[in-house]
């Protein structure tokens, strides 16, 4: 009877506070749209400065190949110092064709091209290098140079042929936003009662601590699932991200992941003294690990061992495997049993800890 009473009351809280409700639904959508259009992995225009000291038909032909590519905006100068150009942000890369370039090429000796790349933004620098390499290789093929490797790789990018950025960020953002919102939702519920003084009345009433905890988690589970579903739907509709696995499985795993976030939030709520503290803890404790230690941005395998071990305790890590598996790879439920079990274990542990902490608090 206590459980039902608390569930009903929490629903009334949710519906009565429609302004918060609107924000809760709008914010994730704004985030996914913003990220979606802002987070492009392709560079459109690489500022390439060419210093052609060879000034031969060969070198001019090479420069023409760069002009032909849509990715480069080209400028020719006679200037010795590329650093100065980088400093003035006038170039992403400087290609210097040395005086003896065409001579060496025709003699069959190793011909050199000097490329300086601004790597102050490392990932941009890397992409610039790839672009330049590919243009030079195409050029060499066109002049029939025999120095080409005998084997050429023809990569097939499975699960994401177009190498679309959306395929990467929609699952990642879903994992991030869902756990943030879910933890926030419940983190405020108990602290709010502590601040209002209603908590004293609950303590005096015959409700059990598990009734209070579950009664506060269950209504928000529905809300969080709705928000999560909306995010996924937006990802699919706006960015054409596929769902190659079962939709039902996706819904079930979303539900489990929401539960993990909500349980974490309610645990925070039993620890935090005020609503502000609870909100801050919920945001930081979900945002940072999810960004850095879930495989969202950085490869887990490349991390130092201690960080890898910590990442084992980040729920988003498992959910990313599930979501990428269901959306892109078409994994079956069985293939995702391990990460799914991990998420359920997290929820269970968080809930038990919350109830225990809560009981201790009730009796203090």
């Amino acid at each position: 009877m206590g459980l039902k009473a608390i569930i009903l009351k929490e629903f009334k809280h949710i519906l009565r506070d429609y302004r918060t409700l609107i924000i809760l639904f709008l914010l994730p959508l704004i985030m996914i749209v913003l990220f979606g259009y802002a987070m492009s992995l392709e560079l459109s225009s690489v500022a390439l400065v060419v210093d052609d000291r060879d000034d031969s038909s060969v070198s001019r032909e090479l420069i023409r190949s760069f002009r032909g590519s849509a990715f480069f905006s080209l400028r020719e100068v006679r200037l010795g110092n590329s650093l100065e150009l980088f400093r003035r942000r006038e170039a992403d890369a400087v290609l210097t064709i040395p005086e003896n370039f065409s001579r060496d090429l025709f003699r069959g000796e190793t011909a050199h091209l000097d490329i300086d790349i601004d790597a102050s933004d490392a990932s941009r620098g890397l992409i610039v290098r790839q672009y330049i390499n590919s243009v030079i290789r195409t050029y060499l093929v066109s002049v029939g140079n025999s120095d080409l490797p005998a084997i050429e790789l023809v990569p097939a990018f499975l699960y994401n042929q177009e190498r679309s950025g959306a395929f990467f960020f929609v699952p990642a953002l879903t994992a991030l936003i869902v756990i943030m919102v879910a933890a926030l939702l419940t983190s405020l519920t108990i602290t709010r009662e502590k601040e209002q003084g209603t908590f004293e009345l609950l303590r005096l009433s015959p409700v059990h601590s598990y009734e209070i905890i579950l009664g506060k988690v269950l209504p928000y589970l529905l809300l969080a699932l709705l928000i999560a579903g909306l995010i996924v739907l937006f990802g699919i509709l706006l960015f054409q991200v596929p769902v190659r696995g079962s939709i039902t499985a996706l819904a079930v795993y979303l539900l489990i992941y929401c539960l993990t976030g909500l349980s974490f939030g309610i645990l925070i709520s039993t620890v935090a003294g005020s609503q502000q503290a609870a909100m801050l803890i919920a945001l930081i404790a979900t945002l940072l690990p999810t960004l850095f230690l879930s495989g969202f941005m950085f490869q887990l395998e490349a991390m130092p061992r201690p960080l890898q071990i910590i990442s084992l305790f980040v729920p988003a890590r498992y959910f990313l495997i599930i979501l990428r598996g269901l959306m892109l790879k078409g994994n079956s439920v069985r293939e995702l049993l391990v990460p799914g079990t991990a998420l359920m274990t997290f929820s269970f542990i968080f809930l038990v800890l919350a109830i225990r902490r809560f009981r201790a608090y009730l009796e203090s």
């Binding site: 009565r16 209002q196 003084g197 004293e200 009345l201 009433s205």
Partner: protein, 253 residues
């Protein structure tokens, strides 16, 4: 109805309540007085089953707080100094929630909500509880505390901040309750209010220093008003403690 025996609470090396003993009869309005930090709130919390006593016991309606705090909680209706209902919910939603928590019958819930709505009027009933005038809030709090028909009602400074007229109405409610057989334990800062009680207990430094009818307490300290009597009682007690200021620096609990 309430029987307190040697009730003691220690926090670490500090004794907040020391050997408190008294008896409250059924239907009595019993006032609990004391300066801030005198041990009032700690005593009340122990009697309500919220705080485990370090020593002694209290029987409420024959049930021991030491052995069955949950049983005690069901026999108590509690209302506190600050408005502690769900401010953003409607008055009716508050009543429904507390009624369900205590397992009150649907019929009783309906009649209680209907009574409340006639009392507040159409406009008031639809508003959030926090927007009600303070006097109404206090009465709503009292209504919620009484839903499960508890034999004992504990009011912790119920009229703080309420205007004299509102207080007067509130006290009429209290008398009605005591007339109906409820035992009322009330803590207060207002000495004029304490006059309304059948008997009062004055606490200082964690101990009971006076326990009698308001008239008898006044007579004992040769005071004309209860206010004067209270100040004299506390001053006399502090003197007997040898001017020990230890209690003043103690955080209120």
């Amino acid at each position: 109805m309430i029987e307190v025996r040697d009730l003691t609470k220690r926090f670490g090396g500090l004794t907040a309540v020391r050997d408190l003993s008294f008896i409250v009869d059924p239907g009595e309005v019993f006032g609990f007085l004391g300066a801030n930090g005198a041990g009032k709130t700690t005593s009340i919390r122990m009697m309500c089953g919220l705080l485990k006593p370090s020593g002694g016991d209290a029987l409420l309606d024959g049930i021991s707080v030491r052995h069955n705090p949950e049983g005690v909680k069901r026999r108590i209706g509690y209302m506190s100094q600050r408005f502690s209902l769900y401010g953003e919910l409607s008055p009716a939603a508050n009543v429904e929630f507390f009624a369900r928590v205590y397992g009150v019958s649907k019929k009783k819930i309906q009649s209680e909500v209907a009574r409340l709505q006639t009392e507040l009027g159409e406009a008031g009933a639809g508003r959030a509880a926090s927007e009600l005038p303070l006097g109404f809030k206090q009465r709503l709090g009292l209504a919620c505390a009484l839903l499960h028909d508890p034999p004992i009602i504990v009011l912790d400074e119920p009229t703080s901040g309420v205007d004299p007229v509102g207080r007067r109405i509130f006290w009429e409610d209290i008398y009605t309750l005591s007339g109906a057989g409820h035992t009322v334990l009330v803590t207060t800062h207002f000495m004029d209010e304490a006059e309304y009680c059948d008997r009062i207990a004055i606490m200082n430094a964690g101990r009971l220093i006076a326990l009698d009818t308001p008239a008898a307490v006044k007579a004992r300290y040769g005071a004309e008003t209860l206010n004067q009597a209270f100040i004299r009682a506390v001053a006399a007690d502090r003197e007997s403690l040898g001017g020990n200021r230890e209690w003043d620096s103690r955080p209120s609990s």
